[in-house]
Subunit: 329 residues, 2 copies
Amino acid sequence: MNSNCEILTLADLCRYLKENDNYLVLTHASPDGDTLGSAYGLKFGLKKLGKKVQVICPDEIPHKYDYFMDDSECDFIPETVVAVDVADIKLLGNMWERFEGRIDLNIDHHVSNTHYAKKLYLDETAAATAESIYEILDELGVEFDTRIANALYTGLSTDTGCFKYGNVTARTHEIAAKLHAIGVDAADINRIMFDTKSKGRVKMETMVLNGAEFHFDERCMILAVTRDIQKKTGCSKSDMEGVASMSRSVEGVLVGVAIKESEKDVFKISLRTYDPLDASEICGKLGGGGHKAAAGCTVKGSLKQAKAAILSAIKEALEEVDARANITQ
Amino acid sequence: MNSNCEILTLADLCRYLKENDNYLVLTHASPDGDTLGSAYGLKFGLKKLGKKVQVICPDEIPHKYDYFMDDSECDFIPETVVAVDVADIKLLGNMWERFEGRIDLNIDHHVSNTHYAKKLYLDETAAATAESIYEILDELGVEFDTRIANALYTGLSTDTGCFKYGNVTARTHEIAAKLHAIGVDAADINRIMFDTKSKGRVKMETMVLNGAEFHFDERCMILAVTRDIQKKTGCSKSDMEGVASMSRSVEGVLVGVAIKESEKDVFKISLRTYDPLDASEICGKLGGGGHKAAAGCTVKGSLKQAKAAILSAIKEALEEVDARANITQ
């Protein structure tokens, strides 16, 4: 934690955004709907106030987000660097060293935020960073249009599993209502985000489910997407999103694990948990982190070793939970 | 259509509900979250106004709805019969003949409503009947509590695919926001409704996906749940819900078909379509009906015959769409 990081209120933040210009907005690597929706929503909003804004994403942006993209060139020299939905400077991926110590402003909603920026607006009660961006633009008096609404709705909807998860509050729905009133293309967005699978994805799901493993009295389900499965089904990186949610969807399962072989002998593990388990705590044991119900980590070695490592961390957590349950009985 | 059916405004309806008492509230057969959530929400609300209310469901209520059920006995003689979310008297299943001509009031949101009741409150713009029930109870000055909120949220959320579909409006989210403020157990409800599959269900999905068929340049996907699959996976009726949505979730698919063998040589077909296809029109050709994006019909014969029948109806619809596209080109 950087103790020099200045914490901003909404009013401070809006003053700052008005006073500065020539914004470079950064998203996190492996971009998702919230980091992109927030970055582009902020861009379109600030442009309405006459500001110059460019978004940079460390990785290629999946085509499914095309509906709110613009292809404007950067015709100015960036002065103010803003990271949105980026909890840790390292989440800038291949760009983190370039920007270390150079992030002027960070707008985020992750409890795990490391306070790496000079100034931070952090609303941990927001279901998505896009929720904060809506409030910021509203406070700045921006006139919303469909494109802004589509970008922000994408953030709201993807970070909440389409309003399904425990992070949703009355405010989330209130903002969604406002975005509907503006004319957001919600059904089309949700179709793209939640209900569109490639044929390869369907094949991948079938293969992954065939290899499903259950552990600890069926309280843990493991799904593995090996490189072999990826090759056989031709699945892209974005085709593989959501396997973690599949792993948690079986009755009685408290912790779902998706293990993806990202390169030879490197496994990205995504955890999804239900109360009282804490995914971020479990992944923390293996050098990862995230939220209480969703977290991740990376393990090197064979698939067998990766499974053993995460199973051992889960075993500890389940034993603690069982011990607590015995005490309170 | 019964031309003697009196159409009520919200004010008329509230007056009627205040003036009458001893309500028997009917849900449709094969009950879903909206008919049950609306019926129980109405019951709990009217009871707060001192009314006597009993809910009757033509079929057994699946256990997943237990969290808003009560087991109060009927200690009064019913006087006023109200059908909620029941578009057609025949949807009362084994009870329709008993109640034909005897439904005093029908509260519904289906465009296909047949006006069978003496009085009808029909809001076709409501995403769910539960949306109307919320407005009715609010208008009646009912003090909402968590149980009412849980019942109504269940209706809202299940009829919109958790706020995912095109029927969602700003009002849907506004009501969801109000229910959150009341303290609805949204995440738990959504977990039960959308993210909890039995192990048998997961096995069934895997088997069904293995047998997936594509037709008409991959614009149509067919998933069949034969009795053999049902037997091998031990899936219950409610375990089989949602196969229709799976059938529409593949890229490029305009019409998804789920064929379930409900008894020997009887196939229940569920259709899910995207614009410009009209599911209700296609199913209408085989004596069924429903909404534009979701409809159903029943076909007798072999699986092969059932497939042929629905494929022929879909072919016609696709040809019309293609013809229209050629004209406008």
